[in-house]
Point group: C2
Chain length 209, copies 2
């Protein structure tokens, strides 16, 4: 893979063909998402992969219908509403298991994380969880491009509708950003052949030597 080539190839697809993504490519993208970095390794989000025409139609009723209903699969990235002691305990137990140490040996880690998150407001932790979710979105975009799967990241959807239809509230989650996956309809998509619009790298990056 050439990362720069893949990043140049991808674009926010506006029109999809009816070709479906293979299970193999979908698994690749899901695996990449789960390997994404997150602060403290807490992975404070979950992803819902929707391959159900009726549900996609309902979710697309209020916005982005074309990209949502036509897509092969719709990914909903949902962040934690709150960060609780339970979440941190789970991570410490998983760390102990993976690294072959006792939970007691990680007591310092548990205490520092637990006090860090519990000393912030739920609103602060919610924003934090949302930001982490965007790292996973960035990974998903690259993973899709790597597999030559087209994608459309979208924010301006109706989060309440999504939360309700996916039962997210009961899971202590809220929808943050969504991503359609599929294959572009080259003829119908006005953006398919449009040049990429980016500022110059020298404008983005300031070198301080």
């Amino acid at each position: 893979m050439d990362l720069i080539q893949d990043l140049t190839w991808r674009y926010a697809t506006k029109s999809y063909s009816d070709k479906k993504i293979s299970e193999e490519k979908l698994n690749f993208i899901n695996t990449a998402i789960n390997l994404s970095a997150s602060s403290c390794g807490l992975q404070p989000y979950r992803v819902f992969v929707i391959d159900n025409a009726e549900l996609k139609a309902k979710l697309g009723e209020t916005s982005f219908n074309q990209q949502i209903a036509q897509s092969s699969h719709l990914l909903v990235f949902a962040a934690y509403n709150t960060v609780t002691t339970h979440h941190i305990k789970n991570l410490v137990e998983l760390t102990a298991e993976k690294q072959g140490v006792t939970v007691d040996a990680l007591d310092g880690l548990f205490s520092s994380m637990d006090s860090y998150f519990s000393n912030r407001t739920d609103e602060q932790n919610k924003h934090w969880a949302e930001k982490q979710t965007y790292i996973a979105l960035g990974t998903a975009l690259i993973a899709a491009a790597n597999q030559k799967v087209d994608a459309t990241p979208m924010e301006g959807f109706d989060p309440e509708l999504f939360d309700e239809l996916l039962g997210l509230k009961d899971k202590n989650l809220h929808s943050v950003v969504i991503l359609s996956l599929g294959y572009r309809d080259q003829d119908k998509d006005y953006l398919a052949n449009a040049p990429k619009v980016r500022i110059a790298t020298e404008e983005m990056v300031t070198m301080i030597g």
Copy 2:
């Protein structure tokens, strides 16, 4: 490149050797960052790449000194404080130039974006800009791993110190997240050989067929 292999290879490096990153690899990472997706294509952030021992030492005084001062380069990701009509005008002009159309032809795009952002509070736009920044961070992490460059993403730094020393306020920016780049010190880094800790992909991803 095998993306899954690269994502598995990377980890939050705790100790760096004194080996510097080549200009070529740094350019690769910067180019990837600038190609990152952002909502509406607004790229509401800028990156400062610090290769100055004295400045790194100052920035590391209050936190993460080891990862900041020892790194080859420190990247500071800074988001817009506000989203203004000026930003949107710039994007529309750039789009017109890249796509070979007139600015007038993009008047509808300009109006809808301008009204969208101006109808939200500065606080909402600030959070939005911060989230976009994390897509770029995710891209940078993958670009670094692609080049076998080690990296440490960090949040718990002193943003006021960073904003002051980099003069970000005058640029309508604030530091959001930082990223050290360099090469791991395999012997001194207790995490270098630790297994990666992630929940099962089946726990991260719910398939809705």
